[in-house]
Amino acid sequence: MISLPVVLVFAAVLFGIGLYGVLGQTNAVMVIMGVELMLGAAMLNVVGFLRFAAQDSTSGAFFVLILLTLMALEAAIGFGLVISTFRNRRTAEVDDLTDLSG
């Protein structure tokens, strides 16, 4: 049946997929999507603990609210940056954006 390790394994796999997206994708927008999945995995962890280990801890639920807001903020700033890089460099490919690497 459903128990805490099951939920955590689901979250771990989701985290792995997100990490693959962040490391493997060439486009900045796809990297942002990878980060979204990793944050989603973190939330799944917290909800898993909420359900099985700490029933009455409302601060856990509150932490998920903060994570939800964080997802939205991260995407917003990410797109702001993508727009300005696209306007200056005409591309959003992360491989081309290596000016700082000296």
Binding site: F86, R87, R90
Partner: protein, 447 residues
């Protein structure tokens, strides 16, 4: 009140306005124009389909899901293929449907380097790929036969070209199917001027009534198509209710392009009803709802004032009826606006329709009373005959001695150019409304 059943969405070739001008209104046959071939359950088509519309019609029929109810009627005399042959071709060719609009997701197919998108930055400084779009000759909100090839940046129209694909009859005896009465009257008056004969006063008044009735019907049918484009069902219903008595009056008074003999006096009652409803329609249009969509949009470039209602809406009050003794006797003064935007063009045509209905009533009364006017035939101008058609002046000159008169409608090309210019650099819905607001014609009008 008696409720009629729901009209059937149909593919109307070339478009609804043409059928209303030619004779019977599609609404009387229970048909409304379908906004896309997928929605069409019926087909209203002239027996001889013009060549330019044959291909698009077969393509559209391929996208129609069920066997449509086909209504074929006599259309303008143009060269083209017979409708039965087209239906046959579409039935057996319905397997592979090919679309007139090349619309298969043509993003990123323009062959330039995929990684860096080149081009000049659009208004917000971002370089985006333009979309080429061709608004086809059929089932688009533009008049039938008119093709607009547009280039879009997002939903901003960057460039627009218009071309009419339908060809009127041969040179000399040409008749513009969207203004048949005006062209016929111009030709007859030109021959009379050349021969120096005089029509009887009654026929002169009936000619004026016929020209004005055709203008009123054309303007109201156009207002109905603007209502459909705006998605304003109330305007469509109001225009439809105003059109009905006018079409009845046209049949009774025998003024239709295909007259069925004059009826006795029944038209006076219809005209009175039509006048009242036209007044209500103008009141509806003068409200703030049309202004919300039309005020300040599609403004004509200063200096370009095409002939006809579009020019009058921009302040150039030129009208072929000004210096005509018959019209002066009827107490006619030209209707105009000064903004030159979409709202002005809509209001000018609505007010002209109201004025035309009044002129028709008055002219028919004088024709019945037989009151004559000595000073020569109507529609006379120094260079021959000049009739103000629904889309601008129609000039006719005849070399005399039985040769067919040359009838010309100057300014059609200028209007199309002004429309294309007014529609560029506008958001999509504004650009389309601007194009429709010029009441263009899908037929290549000679001259």
């Amino acid at each position: 009140m008696v409720l009629s059943t729901r009209p059937r969405a149909a593919l109307i070739v070339p478009d609804e306005l043409s059928w209303t001008v030619w004779g019977t209104d599609p609404a009387e046959r229970g048909l409304t124009p379908a906004s896309a071939p997928e929605y069409a359950r019926g087909l209203l088509v002239p027996e001889v389909v013009p060549a330019a519309l044959a291909g698009p019609l077969v393509a559209a029929l391929a996208r129609v899901p069920q066997r449509p109810l086909v209504i074929a009627d006599s259309g303008p005399n143009v060269t083209g293929s017979h409708v039965a042959e087209l239906l046959g071709r579409s039935a057996q060719g319905s397997g592979d449907h090919h679309d007139s609009q090349h619309d298969h997701g043509d993003h990123g197919e323009h062959g330039h380097d995929m990684m860096a998108i080149v081009g000049d930055p659009s208004a917000d400084g971002l370089v985006m790929e333009p979309v080429e779009l061709e608004l086809g000759p059929l089932s688009s909100s533009l008049p039938g036969g008119l093709i607009a090839s547009l280039r879009l940046d997002g939903d901003l129209v960057v460039s627009c070209e218009l071309r009419s694909t339908l060809v009127t009859g041969n040179g000399r005896g040409a008749v513009d199917p969207l203004a048949p009465v005006a062209w016929a009257v111009a030709a007859t008056v030109a021959t009379e001027l050349a021969d120096g004969t005089h029509p009887a006063p009654a026929t002169a008044w009936r000619r004026i009534a016929a020209v004005e009735l055709e203008r009123a019907v054309s303007h109201l049918a156009w207002l109905r198509s603007v209502g459909r484009l705006l998605g304003w069902d109330q305007l469509v219903a109001c225009a439809q209710r105003t059109l009905q008595p006018l079409l009845e009056a046209r049949r009774d008074a025998g003024l239709a392009a295909t007259p069925r003999g004059p009826g006795a006096g029944a038209d006076a009652r219809d005209l009175a009803v039509a006048a009242k409803r036209a007044g209500k329609l103008t009141g509806l249009l003068e409200g703030s709802r049309l202004a919300a969509r039309a005020r300040g949009r599609g403004r004509l470039a200063s200096g370009t004032a095409p002939a006809g209602p579009n020019g009058r809406a921009a302040g150039a009050l030129r009208d072929a009826r000004d210096d005509d003794p018959f019209y002066r006797a009827l107490g006619f003064e030209p209707v105009g606006g000064h903004e030159g935007d979409v709202e002005a063009r809509v209001l000018v045509r609505a007010r002209e329709a109201v004025a035309s209905v009044a002129l028709v009533t008055d002219a028919l009364a004088r024709a019945a009373a037989g009151r004559g006017w000595s000073e020569g035939p109507g529609f006379a101008s120094p260079a021959g005959a000049a009739v103000e058609g629904p889309r601008g002046p129609v000039l006719a000159s005849s070399p005399g001695a039985g040769a067919a008169p040359l009838v010309v409608a100057p300014g059609a090309a200028a209007t199309a150019a002004a429309a294309a210019a007014a529609a560029t650099d506008q958001e999509w819905s504004v650009a389309l409304l601007t194009l429709v607001s010029f009441d263009l014609s899908g037929w290549q009008v000679p001259g």
